[in-house]
Amino acid sequence: MATIVGGIATSHIPTIGKAIGKGWCNEPEWKPFFDSYKPVHAWLEKVRPDVAVVVYNDHGLNFFLNNMPTFAVGAAARYDNSDEGWGLNVVPPFAGYPEFSWGLIESMVADEFDITSCQEMLVDHGFTVAMGLLWPKEKGPCPVRTVPISVNTVQSPLPSPARCYKLGRALGKAIEAFDEDLRVVVVGTGGLSHQLDGTRAGFVNKDFDLLCMEKIVTDPEALTDYSIPDLIRLTGAQGVEVIQWLVMRGALTGQVSKVHSRYHGVISNTSAAVMVLENSCADERHAREHVLQEHL
């Protein structure tokens, strides 16, 4: 059976992608930021995942409003990045794992999640910037196969934090039910607080970011009490991307240990942060499942 080694939450700010592309990680302005991913690399080298399930949001590269899924799961052998229109370098393709993707989709649909399956799928900076941070190309070829899961953060109505957390729980169950000896890391990308649109553009809420970073470890259910309008108000219109962190967290067990955590302050328009959570054993999940059921 597959094992979830843990979860990673990380921002996916395009400017970071630009810095990666330019090789700026030792520039004084960027070094503290990139250095904060060294403990992440050390942890990944320790736990050696075979697969990364990457929960992100598409910003208008693969999905358009003519066919806009709430939850889309990739089931391709290869995921290409492509021109997003505003100048970010296109990065090389990522390896998929379609058999594993189908295992996840089957399990999640059986659990009454209405998944959109994608046998061809372009991945945008929401996916690629996170991958570039976790597995920098300087360290050699990317050692993991991937399953991208895109969450709708474009078209209201967005899925609620509670629904996203439940998707995560179904995802965790699906991963652990997959009948191969795999080590899986679940990545949630996006956030934290930021807003690009409107007269409140530039909005940042450090207090709420820190609250999210605390609760995501110890009490993720507390975050599921927020509605999407609550989140927009508290973390900015685009800060709602934190719902992807909730999917990641839902896939882990009730108890996790925090391996690493860093809040960076604002990069470009967005609060940047990274966290690594190590998973408890699966038995723990099953014991907790009952309690969660009552809460949600």
Partner: protein
Amino acid sequence: MKTSLENHKIPGTIIFDGQRAIDGYALNKMCFSFNSAENRAAFLSDPDAYCRKFNLTDKQREAVKSRDVLGLLESGGHIYYLAKWGGIIGLGVQDLGAQQTGMTVEEFKAMLARGGAH
């Protein structure tokens, strides 16, 4: 149409709900086309003709011409798609932010460096 989000109006942002999606479909479709370099070049060679090809409203074409970001959002543009248009005409997210908040770009960046708006 009464949408649940209209019951949760949030000052300073423009929720991309069903009504905005209806109003902005053509505009967003045009901006989505800017994922292609060829289409970006076609826009730049004659912006208004490109807008007409996508059947933008007069108001939207006017807002494109005057680079009025708030106007484009009000008439149904989504910021993710508008960012692609911004890229073409040299407006990054901080330029867009400065314009919307009535700051200079330097003021907007300085505000972010101080931890952003609250």
